[in-house]
């Protein structure tokens, strides 16, 4: 059986800098893969190459064994890959509920059907479910831009999950989140994985968060895979320790 996501020999440079230099990895159905590495090691560029945000110079992406390289971000989203960005990306002027509905409405029906469909595009119930799961119910009618940073972060992730994607790529979900919200977020992602079989790829600098959440860790250094394995092995790997602490 082919893996859910397979990335082969991805390469992308900016001028003389080889940002992503021949990265290959796979994600199995139901797995949480963590990607760690020092700043500038190419983690976000790797995400952007996989998701069509920037064009890789070479490399191949397969989803369920089907080549999806070169497709637009919108197409990839509709094929079932959700994502969040390093910086918060909610629609600040829209209320929280509309943020959730807009995140799913393009995933079903035709363009013409969406003109005449009810305003909630058939995702009203799903949005309510998400509001409850992410504890955002009391903010449903507030403009998203008026919510706190932590609440916007939860909304951002809820939006990526709205359409029921097969795989979600999260870029630093823990960044800037206070400890209480962080442990809540940790539990939520774990629950989604156990109860709904959701698969994640998580870029994260918070080691406690990523090591306890993920099944497997990929370490990137200078655009290359330095090590790959279970969290326990990675934490003991001398090459990884050296890359992080220097010698």
């Amino acid at each position: 059986m082919s893996p859910l996501l397979e990335v082969r020999d991805m390469r992308r440079s900016f001028g003389a800098i080889q940002a992503v230099d021949g990265v290959s990895f796979a994600v199995r159905q139901g797995e949480i893969l963590g990607i760690v590495g020092p700043n500038g090691s190419g983690k976000t560029t790797l995400f952007n190459c996989i998701l069509g945000q920037i064009r890789p110079h070479s490399g191949e992406v397969r989803l369920d064994g089907v080549a999806v390289s070169g497709l637009s971000p919108a197409r990839l989203s509709r094929l079932g890959i959700g994502r969040t960005f390093q910086m918060l990306q909610v629609f600040g002027g829209m209320n929280v509920r509309d943020n959730l509905i807009v995140a799913a409405q393009e995933h079903t029906g035709s363009l013409a059907s969406r003109l005449f469909s009810p305003p909630d595009a058939g995702f009203g119930a799903r949005a309510e479910e998400m509001l409850d799961f992410f504890k955002l119910r009391h903010l449903a009618d507030q403009p998203a831009g008026d919510c706190s940073f932590g609440q916007q972060k939860l909304l951002d992730i809820a939006m990526a999950l709205m359409a029921g994607p097969r795989l979600v790529l999260l870029d630093e979900p823990a960044g800037g989140v206070n400890p209480a919200t962080l442990s809540e977020l940790h539990d939520m992602l774990g629950r989604l994985n156990r109860e709904k079989g959701a698969s994640f790829v998580v870029i994260e600098h918070n080691m406690d968060f990523v090591m306890s959440l993920c099944d497997r860790i990929l370490v990137l250094v200078e655009g290359r895979v330095l090590a790959e394995g279970a969290p326990g092995e990675i934490q003991k790997n001398p090459a990884v320790i050296e890359a992080y602490l220097g010698n």
């Binding site: 945000q53 637009s72 629609f91 807009v102 003109l115 305003p119 595009a121």
Partner: protein
């Protein structure tokens, strides 16, 4: 509830107001209704979908000439009207396809260039448009057999047109399409990552906005009964942009207020004789500097302040 009551009172005022006005006043109100539709189109393109277009007057012009040329050649107005809208929708798509590769001021320049082009065609292609002499004796349409030749009857026709266009747009911005337009204005990259096809929706917003311009133009021709290229000069696109900006870009009611201010305020300032355009310019400058989100933004700000004051009093705070 209070909002609905205000809306009802305003509609009643618009119906009753012209009864006490002379022909010129009724003409101005009709012009307001038609300009509001053109500005509603631009507000969709600019305010909701975030595309800066400086070609709205060109679409009004295309619509006006389609309506004028067809109705003076015996075609019924109610056939010419949808054709004007449809042609502008198609031209909007054709212009948008290459033009919407660029954004912001670059798009403004591309659309401005298009407006100049349309203006030159209207002025120079005499065989079709009559050139500077224009098209005259444009007939006014009949509604279910009732002639609208008298100013008051035609005013009520334009008011009905405005109501229909306003309702259609109200439904559109509340549909999933409207939500997609807003999403791509606020953050196109995030919108794409959620499956929203940026190109399709941008083109649609632009084409629908252009079509509304064309429909407004189709009503403009019988209002003035004689058209030449002058009212479709790029400067008119700036006036339409001003209506949207002064009203408050992205607010649904902005074009109604903005068009009223741009068309009626200069008339009210006429008492100041030669100074009235200067006064008008100063007022617009002060408003835009003090409140860039326009009259609607001013109203929202005022409401927020009243609410904050109300909350303060309820908590037993300082009066």
């Amino acid at each position: 509830m209070r909002g609905r009551l205000i809306l009802l009172l305003l509609v009643a005022a618009l119906v009753l107001l012209p009864l006490g006005l002379k022909n010129y006043g009724i003409y101005l109100l009709s012009l307001w209704a038609i300009s509001t539709v053109a500005a509603l189109g631009l507000n969709l393109t600019l305010g909701y979908a975030g595309q800066v277009s400086l070609a709205q007057a060109a679409f009004v012009g295309i619509g006006a000439y389609v309506s004028a040329l067809l109705t003076t050649n015996g075609v019924d107005f109610w056939v010419a009207l949808p054709l004007a809208g449809l042609l502008c929708f198609v031209v909007g798509l054709l212009l948008g396809f290459p033009a919407l590769r660029v954004q912001h001021h670059y798009l403004a320049f591309v659309t401005l260039g298009f407006n100049v082009l349309v203006f030159l065609v209207l002025r120079n292609e005499e065989w079709l448009t009559g050139g500077s002499y224009g098209v005259s004796d444009i007939p006014r349409p009949a509604v279910f057999g009732f002639a609208t030749d008298r100013p008051l009857a035609f005013y009520y026709l334009t008011l009905g047109f405005l109501a229909a266009a306003g309702l259609a747009l109200w439904l559109l911005v509340r549909s999933p399409w409207g939500r997609a337009f807003t999403a791509l204005r606020e953050n196109p990259m995030r919108a794409a990552s959620l499956g929203i096809d940026i190109r399709t929706y941008t083109l649609l917003a632009f084409a629908i906005g252009s079509a509304l311009g064309g429909l407004a133009g189709a009503f403009y021709a019988p209002l003035v009964e004689f058209i030449d290229p002058t009212p479709f000069h790029p400067a008119a696109s700036l006036a339409l942009l001003l209506m949207v900006a002064v009203g408050g870009s992205g607010y649904f009611f902005a074009p109604f207020l903005g068009a009223a201010l741009v068309i009626l305020l200069p008339e009210w300032l006429r008492f100041s004789e030669g100074l009235y355009l200067m006064l008008y310019a100063l007022l617009v400058m002060v408003l835009m500097a003090y409140c860039p989100s326009g009259l609607c933004g001013l109203w929202v700000r005022f409401q927020a302040r009243m609410r904050a004051r109300g909350a303060g009093l309820a908590e037993g705070g300082r009066p």
